[in-house]
Symmetry: D3
Subunit: 197 residues, 6 copies
């Protein structure tokens, strides 16, 4: 199972349209399963909202790291698999933060630090692919007033030093993608050496 990873250096807004199928092909000519990552503001328009529980809410933040995953392997796409993989991504990201000494809480697909919401996520499917959007705040800027938010850059270690900054952010992004795609590959490998019941 090959999954291409492309990190885009330019800043652009996630407005919710990037979760549409074949976005990676249309924008970057990428065939097959892929993960596109970039840094930019998030401001999801009502039209592009995928979580019916969020209708009427603002989902926005001025500075987030975005992951858009698209999977074509499972045909027809299966929403259950989409959400299981989403949980895997969120939990792997959390495992990495734990290794950096950061205490987090997780509720479903949400990660919290010190009571502040660090991340947002949604999964969904079309008939051609499954998509996941996962994003975490770098700062608490441009976020809804009624939500307590934590930015990655706000997190400090015990000596009150900032743990992540512009120098090691890309390492974190790459490490997250690498562990996630590796995990999916070990699952495929496990399948190919398992006797059925």
């Amino acid at each position: 199972m090959y999954i291409a990873h492309k990190h885009i250096d330019e800043i652009f807004e996630y407005d919710g349209s990037q979760i549409n199928p074949s976005w990676a092909f249309q924008e970057f000519g990428i065939y097959g399963s892929s993960i596109i990552t970039w840094i930019g503001p998030v401001n999801i328009t009502a039209d592009n909202l995928k979580d019916f529980a969020d209708v009427g809410l603002e989902i926005k933040s001025s500075n987030m790291v975005n992951f858009i995953c698209e999977f074509f392997d499972q045909q027809p796409p299966n929403m259950r698999i989409a959400y299981l993989r989403q949980r895997l991504l969120v939990m792997i990201f959390r495992e990495i933060l734990t290794e950096y000494g950061i205490k987090t809480k997780r509720e479903g697909d949400d990660i919290f630090v010190d009571g502040g919401k660090l991340s947002i996520s949604i999964a969904s499917v079309s008939l051609s692919s499954a998509k996941i959007h996962f994003a975490f705040n770098l700062e608490d800027k441009g976020t809804p007033e009624d939500v307590e938010v934590c930015g990655l850059f706000d997190i400090e270690d015990e000596e009150e030093n900032q743990i992540f900054n512009d120098d090691n952010l890309l390492d974190l992004i790459n490490e997250t993608v690498l562990r996630f795609t590796d995990e999916l590959k070990t699952i495929e490998n496990d399948i190919s050496k398992t006797k059925v019941l």
Copy 2:
């Protein structure tokens, strides 16, 4: 999505036959998806081996906590979902250990503590259900000589106090099952409020 949990107080051996479909119905009259937990030795016979990579190896331990999960919701059963749910179970168990202050490492479905293998796991499917076996050692007793093993009861905190013992083991088992089944339910809930692409 309702998943029955039954903890069996008697000690009995996991010989690998318990992974067969409808074992929970045949042994305990349980209909539908279920998780059966118990404490007992593990000694998988060659006939019951499901991991082709383990052919010729001994998989045994005198004292383990066993989880047998069976899922009938996905029809026909899907090996990919079986392994994704297995990873979820393993990672949730690991999240709980982390909360107890225990440092662990994870490689796929294996958990290690201080270089010793704490747990074993396999997933597989028949045409009626998906099954997961997950088990962790309580002690390093009766395990293969060439494998470094860690038992849960061997793990100590910084003051060299044993963290788990017979008094709080059942809490750990119940907590693991509860969080795992809750996670699966939140996934089903997420599906029912997601707009498709």
Copy 3:
């Protein structure tokens, strides 16, 4: 397999939009599979028509009992299962009428009494769920002129007494939902005790 049932006491029109996915979540905050029942007029707009054979026809009636079923268990949803479950619902409703001594005829998903059309039904799927709309007339009022219609309240026993009225209608609705959901549960139970071939 848990299926929530909610009967809505208010009268509102079925215009065909209620068959859209996650309607029960959006309107009533219900997670997972559900059956919503209510009494009200039916007047399906051209936009909301799901049966291509009905294009150009009027589907309307002033006083019907409506059932909207939504199933999230089968992922990805399967139109064949949606229609098989629809037939089950229609046949169970007919079984109950037979117990009340009412002679009916069935053609596919249509039920007739004395040559008059008692009920309408459609099934369809999105990528998140399968939906069934089933409705039966209480009176022959506001129905298309070129269709012979029978209302449930028009049916009389041999002594020319009306069989159903406002006093026992809710019992009929609840009994229909209960038997249907029970049937689906026995099917799931049957799966969990069946040996595969």
Copy 4:
């Protein structure tokens, strides 16, 4: 959706092996989906038992009408569809009995007349096809002593005349098969004229 029907005139025993996949091809050279019907004793060997709830029980009767249905259309076969189609067959058979004026009760896939068990049924799947065995007693002969049984030939109308006999039995068999296969075809037709959500 074409389903071949072949009625076998010879008497032979249903021992449970006929539910295996491709039995109709191996015995009669029939390609594709089919329904084979015949009259004969039933005596299911322990090896061929498919219902784990029946382990240790005798399932036998000296004189039954047997239906073996095999479906290759759904790939991969789906146990849920197998059981939904089984319910359809049982309910259609019951609808026909009702038209003959026979009062019956149904519990899942069992039909009762006057408290006596008229029929038995099981559904299951292999990876190539779904199979249904449905059989009803003609007489209460050779059946387990602890089960109250009703034979079709024992049923009488209000004037105490036997309703079914050797003269009209084949009509009943053919009518049951015809309505069942017609129902499945109308479902496929419904699919091809339904707009998705």
Copy 5:
């Protein structure tokens, strides 16, 4: 597996809307899987474009033979099966041309003669059916200027005689449909005589 074939004698344009699900039912009242063939111009509007790689390109030709295939057998429809069947159709058409002594090249779903593009094709799915559009040029007329095109009527044998013309074109169309539907039926037959692993 029954697949209806209807050849339409009137000339009409393929504008891309004919690939929508249930078009054969809506236009011609055809239930179930079908292949509709006709001769006419092709001019796909931007709205109806299904290949994201063709965005911004003109796909048009004044005189093509069109095949629209719709399959309802696989539920839920599977894009992988849609494309495998498309390749089968294209390769079978090519096999027939080879029998006529015509040398062709194939790249995926495109057929070339003497460097000129003879055919176009796309496959896609909705939740009710899988669809294939396959069309080949009769002449190089009304085609995009930047594409080298070959028309079937332009192909000559070694004595420079035109191989296909209005007299034998319908035979070619019928033969292509017949072999393709026969191939799909032999596959279904093969399934019904194969032992699973």
Copy 6:
């Protein structure tokens, strides 16, 4: 979609057991989808026969080129996809022979040259993978007496020169595998750039 190809230089018999799931992993440690090719005799034991139409027949030949393909991408495996891919492999092999100037006939998955059977093939599935066995004769040696057989090495061009021999056989094998795996990849690429209906 990555498919490993391994050609085994040693000669060994195909006895039918190599079609079992995970054979490539168990024998060669290969994870994931793969094609194993080798030269050797074929002699399928009754136990390993997968085509119920061949029961009682001998399937043997002293000198064949064998292809064993295993696919783990489609979960759960689908017999329809297995046979569609088998047809693709057979037709691609035939396309290559045509390019070498060899006239062949094809009936389903059988290739004939001058009335002699050149190849045999079967496809099947377990719950973990889909498998294809395809093999063609090099000589008419050790084959059943009642079958007219053609060996690849027996085929001559118009000047009566042998077309294939030990020098170019491996090229043919590699070219066949390469085009087949390329075709499957272009199908996956096509999926990732197709708009759904």
